[in-house]
């Protein structure tokens, strides 16, 4: 062992580089699995269009003009006469460059429609994540520190209750309380930040709250469990006998090691939040992607539907990737995850 030390002239960089490589390969491995998943889900969503037995060309042309010749001509123009996989590939390659096709009916490029509505959902989602992490994290931490006390029991109870409330029910409760009964916040509509920060926040706070509640409860519960377990570990005692202040031990050692599973929960719950976003849009009349999807589903505007699904799946995968990377950064040793 001593010989190995002396001969490694790389000095202090070697262990860091080695660990960095391990982390990169883990992330890369995750990516390697996620990319096929993305392709697969986009294929599934694309095939939905093919499943549709409505003839888009006929629908676009309208009843009278839909002569077989005209339909065939439009089919060719839209590329609908090619085999499914070829269509899929064309669509995918175009999508990667940002071209998601054009709406059958409005002639507006799909990417434009999506880009218009994305900020709404992003605002709500980001604020919701912040809220969920803050409330869930605090509740979970306090419950773990004062384990067995009344705070702990109250938090557990509230979490169980909240967990069963889906976002649209919560949204409605919030609207009733804050917009109708107390009249402090607007009941619907969306105002972008360009219209003023305060109105923007006023309009997104309730929807974000509705989204975040369930995730917040899940995070609180998981964090409490992990933190209680971590606080019993020997290295917490080790940190104490070094004379480190309690707060520092809590944050830099305990929370750091305990937050992994909670972070995973955040990633797993992201699809729930997306569903909640659709609910929030419906309850609060927000012009977001969910509404776009509903409208285009009604009219069977397939390109729009496919575009929205692809964007949504991509987001889910990206979030998964971010969570993965963060976990790899937090946990340097592969056995370092203390559950």
């Amino acid at each position: 062992m001593a010989v190995a030390e002396l001969t490694s002239a790389a000095g202090s960089i070697a262990p860091r580089r080695r660990r960095a490589w391990a982390a990169v390969s883990r992330i890369g491995g995750g990516l390697a699995i996620l990319i096929p998943i993305l392709l697969l889900s986009s294929l599934i969503t694309y095939s939905l269009g093919a499943l549709s037995n409505s003839n888009p060309a006929a629908t676009i042309l309208g009843q009278d003009a839909a002569t077989p010749a005209a339909v065939a001509k439009l089919d060719k123009a839209l590329g609908l006469d090619k085999p499914l996989l070829v269509q899929y590939w064309d669509w995918l390659t175009q999508a990667v460059q940002g071209h998601l096709g054009t709406s059958y009916f409005t002639q507006i490029p799909v990417s434009q429609s999506i880009a218009q509505r994305l900020p709404v959902d992003l605002s709500i989602a980001i604020l919701a994540v912040i809220l969920a992490v803050l409330t869930g994290g605090t509740a979970g931490t306090v419950a773990a520190i004062r384990r067995g006390g009344w705070v702990d029991r109250a938090v557990t109870l509230v979490c169980s209750a909240v967990s069963t409330l889906p976002a649209f029910v919560v949204g409605i409760i919030l609207v009733v309380l804050f917009a109708v009964v107390w009249r402090v916040l607007p009941a619907n509509g969306y105002v972008g930040p360009s219209g003023g920060i305060v109105p923007w926040l006023q309009h997104i706070i309730l929807p974000s709250l509705a989204l975040s509640l369930q995730v917040s409860a899940d995070i609180a519960r998981q964090l409490r469990t992990s933190l209680v377990s971590v606080l019993e570990q020997d290295y917490i005692v080790g940190a104490r006998v070094r004379g480190l202040p309690y707060r520092r031990i809590l944050v830099r050692h305990a929370l750091r090691n305990a937050s992994g599973p909670a972070l995973t929960i955040l990633g797993n719950d992201f699809p729930i939040m997306l569903a909640g976003a659709v609910a929030a849009e419906a309850v609060f009349s927000l012009p977001g992607l969910g509404q776009l999807l509903l409208e285009s589903a009604q009219t069977r505007d397939i390109p729009v539907v496919q575009g929205v699904l692809l964007v949504v799946s991509t987001f889910v995968i990206v979030i998964n990737l971010v969570v993965n990377t963060t976990l790899n950064l937090l946990y340097r040793s592969s056995d370092g995850v203390s559950a």
């Binding site: 062992m1 001593a2 030390e5 002396l6 490694s8 790389a10 000095g11 202090s12 960089i13 070697a14 262990p15 860091r16 660990r19 570990q233 020997d234 290295y235 005692v237 080790g238 940190a239 104490r240 006998v241 070094r242 004379g243 480190l244 202040p245 309690y246 520092r248 830099r252 050692h253 750091r256 090691n257 937090l330 946990y331 340097r332 040793s333 056995d335 370092g336 203390s338």
Partner: protein, 350 residues
């Protein structure tokens, strides 16, 4: 020595009683010991004898279900028995440091060992980052780590037990404490590394006047390293004295049995030795001597009432009714060494 004032007492434990299981049982009864500057005091005894709990009490980290029901602990001239959390935060690191049996589990597995040492320096001594890094390297070198620059950036999982123990010692002494508590610090290491760590502790004592409370069940190591020895049995101190006195003139049957089992001192033998019987359950209420059930020399007086420490020579005490009896040694030496039930495997001859 004549003319020199006695060295200061660093750690003083006086009549300590500790209850466990939320007060259901008393695990430590009337333990008293002291450690002076530059002194290495060994605590020896079986598992469950109370030596670890005593250390934890001295460190202020006894588990939540345990409590000090009686007695005082003092550090230097300060009574720390009821010290607040803030008080302990100040004392830890700068006043006393600790190393434990399994160093890997006492370090954060997700941070580099270097950053954990530097953290202590930055927080406790307000060192700027660069200086903390440099001092960390110096400390690693001082404890005998090869390639300290490289070790700095490694996580605990990448280091061997011996290296980790050196890291722990480095961290423990980083803020210049007066006392180091080492709880089974060498137990999990192999013999050559053990010798190196012992040498390191001795050097630290010689160079810095560090007082050490060294807990072990291994008498051979204790003999090698310690100046004084305190022998624990069933939550009590049964004998204490200088290491020469204890090794050459053990006056308590338990100490004598320990020496025989460990083949240390006069009792060097080759066959496997055991002490017949089992130690009492933790917190068991026993009238009289707690070792009487297993003692080959027990008499009626041993079981009649509590046994106090008898002062034998200067600094040498033993808790035995027959401590001064010249025939005691002969009786225990002749006692059969093949008991029905072996106590801990630790006590088998090495």
């Amino acid at each position: 020595m004549a003319g020199n004032p006695p060295p200061d007492e660093v750690l003083g434990i006086e009549d300590l009683h500790v209850t466990v299981h939320d007060g259901a049982a008393t695990a430590i009864r009337g333990v008293s010991l002291s450690v002076r500057t530059g002194e290495i005091v060994g605590l020896v005894g079986e598992s469950g004898s109370g030596k670890t709990l005593t250390c934890r009490a001295a460190l202020g980290v006894i588990p939540a279900s345990c409590a000090i029901s009686q007695g005082t602990i003092s550090f230097g001239r300060q009574d720390v028995t009821d010290l607040s959390r803030r008080g302990w935060e100040r004392l830890h690191g700068t006043g006393m440091g600790a190393v434990f049996q399994d160093p890997a589990s006492y370090l954060n597995p997700n941070l580099t060992v270097g950053s954990q040492l530097a953290e202590v320096l930055r927080v406790k001594q307000r060192m700027p980052r660069r200086q903390a890094h440099r001092t960390s390297i110096e400390l690693f070198t001082a404890v005998g780590l090869h390639g300290p620059e490289r070790v700095f950036h490694q996580i605990p999982a990448e280091l061997s037990g011996g290296m980790l123990q050196r890291v722990m010692i480095a961290i423990a002494i980083s803020c210049g404490p007066r006392l180091l508590i080492a709880d089974e610090a060498t137990t999990a290491l192999d013999v050559t590394i053990q010798a190196e760590i012992i040498e390191l502790l001795r050097d630290l004592r010689d160079q810095r006047g560090l007082a050490v409370l060294f807990v072990s069940h291994d008498l051979a190591v204790i003999r090698e390293l310690c100046d004084r020895v305190v022998v624990f049995y069933a939550g009590e101190v049964v004998e204490s004295g200088s290491v020469e006195e204890i090794i050459e003139r053990p006056s308590h049957p338990y100490t004598q049995a320990l020496l025989r089992v460990a083949s240390v001192g006069d009792y060097g033998r080759r066959e496997l030795q055991v002490i017949p019987g089992q130690p009492p359950r933790v917190g068991a209420e026993i009238t009289g001597c707690r070792f009487a059930a297993r003692c080959p020399a027990a008499i009626a007086a041993c079981r009649s009432g509590p046994v106090d420490l008898t002062m034998l020579a200067h600094g040498h005490d033993a808790r035995c009714v027959r401590a001064s009896d010249p025939e005691l040694a002969a009786i225990t030496a002749a006692a059969p060494a093949d008991g029905l039930v072996a106590p801990d495997a630790e006590l088998a001859v090495r």
